[in-house]
Symmetry: C2
Subunit: 370 residues, 2 copies
């Protein structure tokens, strides 16, 4: 196989593949939505990922197709596969990440621990689920949700009527959790897997805000989290990076919350904190090259997301003050215009003292917050 | 000042600036010699760096000019300065790196320790120098030398006649040295400097082959090397990365061998082994942003150059075997076609045990050697 990787989608995940691609001498091409995308630097084609002809034409320029996001329709993917183009992860695996109901069905069939769940088709079914779960449920649209979108806490049967009019929903128990964790790994088509350390993630308003690697005091969960992620990757034939978001329940169990089959926000720390970053590893995996060592470089790494502050501001405007105050923090800009709440970059600190690392990462991110 | 950096020259040094530029969201433009250059990915203009009009037109697209190499003529630089374009390092500093005679004169005037030297204009003067230095001398052409080119060991007055017919030469004592060291630092226009650790460099056939960071057993030289580099940077008003190549003499002195005013082969280890790499630091410095922490990430880093093996082979052809054998080594390709002796990439290993780190780096590089 050749070594030109085509990425569908030009967001920050595609952008963060550019650095390791340049370093390794791997050619990266990106199908972007427009010239203002994060990965416009590597964009070689502009087109709609829902347009089968545009995607098929893009595939002619590359040796393997991978993704910045999970939204490419199955019909578009099927045409690539029919024409013999390697698609990694493949359509069958992606289907599980694309639809939360399919995901719950498959994980349950695999014996992977998940929250109590049901498919609800109307208010009556939602009412039944509520009655069986203490009068409260999380309701999710099967498709299109991310960063807290398409997710709602419901306490009465009629509170999801608007969404139910569009189709069935996933209802889940409101999990009583102590904290959220994430287990990432990469898997090659030939089967090799390489897990990063289990991390703790802190969400705010449904968006990943902070990641601590490794998760403090989580030794008892390490083996189980790794086993869960490896089972999912192997059984679903995932290729590339798999992210498994987990709840640590107050009664000491792990439950799978969400899956992603691409580099993931909870793995950004690995750029500066691991021997092999999730972006380099994803490139290796989709080319079926031997995976790199995912070991941490430091005792602790902390990543803090930078959410857009004032409209029109850019990260580099704040560099003079931020760099002066935090010379050891690594700054990452996604090349996007700022807007309140938008992920425009992240910072990572590493070191041997967790309190110090946390303080430095948070202080660095704070320079961009307002 | 804006934040678009223009790099004159499209070699591997410009190429290795791409990754940190993308990560920081700093726009990089490159004036390359042709579409096959290492940094062609970031090339926005093709032109000859000796062509004042081409360079001047390129400068209109950027906010500050820096360099992949030191060969841009002073007349071309003078025009940029006359038009108010920031040039970093500036022409006066670059003049010292461009001409080895000027370099020896300036360093001697600054009181920096250098080998015994003289300008020789003919065979008689060379004979006089030989007689005063045990019958042997190193003779160097003032300009255009690199990687061992333009350097010759001479033991008779007539052995440099070919070069003397072109102009004066620099004659130096053949230094009896124990090993070679290098001190790199970065300096901002506003004066801040940040030194990396002193490193040991191993040359083969006049080309840097291997770098060990920090230099083992060199504690007694750390303060002096840093003082020498800081003096040179401050007194010559260097901006960006300065590399000072040093001899550790058998009688325990440091002597300055060569200077470079740009990221340097002896600093490539910093990409994977330091909190702030020389390429990121160069970008910060030329934009006059606060410098990053140059501390090492690991106890030991070893960089080994990959010199071209068989004609037509490329590094990625060897990745399957090399990655499988050395999962923790970082591989860097310069995107060049291979040819015997040509620098086509490098590898870096890091860790806590020097023997292990050395062995892994050498083993990884060996996959590409033949």
């Amino acid at each position: 196989m050749g070594s030109v990787i085509g990425v569908i989608g030009g967001g920050q995940l595609a952008r963060m593949m550019i650095a390791p691609a340049v370093e390794l001498g791997i050619e990266l091409r990106v199908l972007t939505e427009g010239p203002e995308s994060s990965a416009a630097l590597a964009a070689t084609a502009v087109g709609d990922y829902r347009d089968a002809d545009a995607v098929r034409a893009f595939a002619d320029e590359v040796d393997v197709i991978t993704f910045d996001h999970e939204h490419v329709p199955q019909a578009v993917l099927a045409r690539l596969v029919a024409d013999g183009i390697p698609v990694r992860p493949g359509p069958a695996a992606l289907a599980v990440a694309q639809d939360k109901i399919v995901m719950r069905e498959r994980l349950t069939a695999l014996g992977v621990p998940v929250p109590s769940w049901a498919v609800v088709r109307d208010a009556t079914e939602l009412g039944t689920f509520l009655a069986a779960h203490g009068g409260v449920a999380i309701v999710k649209t099967p498709r299109g949700g991310y960063d807290g979108k398409g997710v709602r806490v419901v306490r009465a049967a009629g509170e999801a009527d608007d969404w139910l009019s569009e189709g069935p929903l996933l209802a889940e128990e409101l999990v009583d959790f102590r904290r959220e964790l994430a287990q990432l790994l990469a898997r090659r088509p030939s089967g090799q897997t390489a897990p990063w350390v289990l991390v703790e993630t802190v969400q705010r308003d449904g968006v990943c805000a902070e990641v601590v690697a490794p998760a403090p005091g989580a030794d008892r969960f390490v083996a189980e989290a790794r086993a869960i992620a490896t089972t999912i990757a192997d059984e679903l034939d995932v290729t590339g990076v798999l992210a498994v978001e987990l709840f640590e329940t107050t009664d000491g169990r792990l439950l799978v919350n969400e899956l992603a089959m691409r580099p993931h926000n909870t793995g950004h720390w690995s750029i500066d904190g691991a021997v092999t970053s999730q972006f380099e590893q994803h490139l290796r995996a989709v080319l079926d090259l031997p995976l790199g060592d995912p070991s941490p470089m430091a005792a602790w790494s902390v990543m803090v997301n930078v959410l857009g502050g004032p409209e029109g501001a850019s990260l580099p405007d704040r560099y003079p003050a931020a760099f002066a105050a935090q010379p050891a923090v690594k700054f990452h800009s996604y090349g996007k215009g700022s807007r309140p709440g938008r992920k425009v970059g992240h910072v990572t600190a590493t070191g041997s003292d967790l309190e110090d690392v946390l303080a430095r990462a948070r202080a660095a991110a704070a320079f961009f917050a307002s």
